[in-house]
């Protein structure tokens, strides 16, 4: 039976739980960061991403309802994030659509669920399931540590390519700039909540399980983006040699 880990041991375990399957190393992310994608591929990415993260306020709302009153700081964190997502500034999905429009897409195309891959719908369903059915600590581990804390590492390699190679303006690519920094903080707060409230060995193990599952889900989804939209144009992904060998997906 697993033993209770100290906060520092648990943090390392959480970080290691998704170290091998980070979405930044999946084929679609690598093709993006190295400037191989065409603008039409970005429209497909934005469309699928819209259906994956578009209901984020819903996921957070379900988690909020599952969080007990004694965990007031965790409840406030979730509520704050709902507000940020939807109301505090430009709505985040509008920034995503702004990018899609800069790539030649339309709002109607992006918002049409029929244009999303089954994998995107699977991500959406998994997030509804975890946020609605799991203990709030476990869903925080899954959605915030496992998924959201990866965002800066993905967008920090993709954003410079968008500006420098593809010539997007900072305004057009604001979705990425915003999330590079806000999700650093979001991820850190997620770690703090999980470290604080996963207070039994069973909860710690369940958090680790869901962090792994979240990373696997996002990796498979990102790999599917390449296979569905890019491989027919560019062929199978081959990693260039100068980079450290990555998990090929």
């Amino acid at each position: 039976m697993a033993e209770m880990m100290s906060p520092s041991e648990f943090r390392v375990a959480l970080e290691q739980a998704f170290a091998g399957t980070m979405a930044k190393d999946a084929s679609f992310s690598r093709a993006w960061a190295t400037g191989k994608l065409h603008k039409q591929h970005f429209v497909h990415w934005a469309t699928n991403h819209y259906h994956y993260i578009g209901p984020f306020g819903d996921y957070l709302g379900l988690m909020y309802a599952n969080t007990p009153d004694h965990a007031r700081d965790a409840k406030d964190f979730l509520l704050q994030n709902m507000y940020e997502e939807e109301l505090s500034d430009d709505r985040h999905t509008d920034l995503l659509i702004r990018f899609a429009e800069a790539c030649g897409g339309t709002r109607a195309y992006v918002q049409d669920r029929n244009n999303a891959m089954p994998f995107a719908k699977g991500m959406q369903g998994w997030m509804y399931y975890v946020s609605g059915r799991e203990n709030f600590v476990v869903s925080s581990a899954a959605l915030i540590v496992g998924l959201e804390s990866q965002v800066p590492s993905i967008y920090r390699t993709q954003y410079p390519t968008l500006i420098n190679k593809y010539g997007f303006s900072e305004w057009e690519a604001e979705f990425f700039d915003l999330h590079i920094t806000s999700d650093e903080i979001h991820g850190e707060r997620g770690y703090q909540i999980v470290l604080k409230y996963a207070d039994t060995p069973e909860l710690q193990q369940r958090c680790l399980h869901y962090v792994r599952e979240a990373a696997d889900m996002r990796f498979a989804y990102t790999k599917a983006l390449y296979q569905t939209y890019v491989e027919p144009d560019l062929g199978p992904w081959v990693e260039e040699e100068e980079r450290e060998p990555a998990l090929v997906g």
Partner: protein
């Protein structure tokens, strides 16, 4: 190991060689009491004076330039928007509030303490 010196609270935070780290994230992780609100470059609550090590910081992007304006020339950076890859020293006024809240009644219309974005 490179380190961030949060001079106002006399705390050093180390990070791994070769890494680039977000300044506000490190401050929150290590409880260094940097004031902040939005984490998205909107409020300016987390503006820090760069006392040393400016050469180790990444250049400011659009949101930070728009929020700080001339304060950038005065040596300020926003902790939430800034990454460092080497030694750097920051100081700040522990009582500072958001740039839109200064001189007002504090209700300001900006974001509230600790509100961060999702994506």
């Amino acid at each position: 190991m490179p380190r961030i010196y949060f001079k106002t609270v006399d705390r050093y935070v180390e990070f791994a060689e070769g890494e680039e780290v977000n300044v506000l994230r490190m401050a929150i992780r290590e409880d260094c009491d940097v004031p902040w609100q939005c984490a998205s470059g909107n409020c300016g609550t987390d503006r820090l004076v760069v006392e040393e090590g400016v050469e180790n910081l990444d250049p400011p992007r659009r949101r930070e330039r728009a929020r700080l304006g001339d304060l950038l020339d005065d040596g300020y950076r926003l902790a939430c928007q800034t990454y460092t890859r080497g030694d750097v020293t920051f100081s700040w006024d522990p009582d500072q509030v958001g740039l839109d809240d200064e001189g007002g009644d504090g209700s300001g219309g900006g974001s509230r303490a600790g509100w961060a974005g999702t994506g």
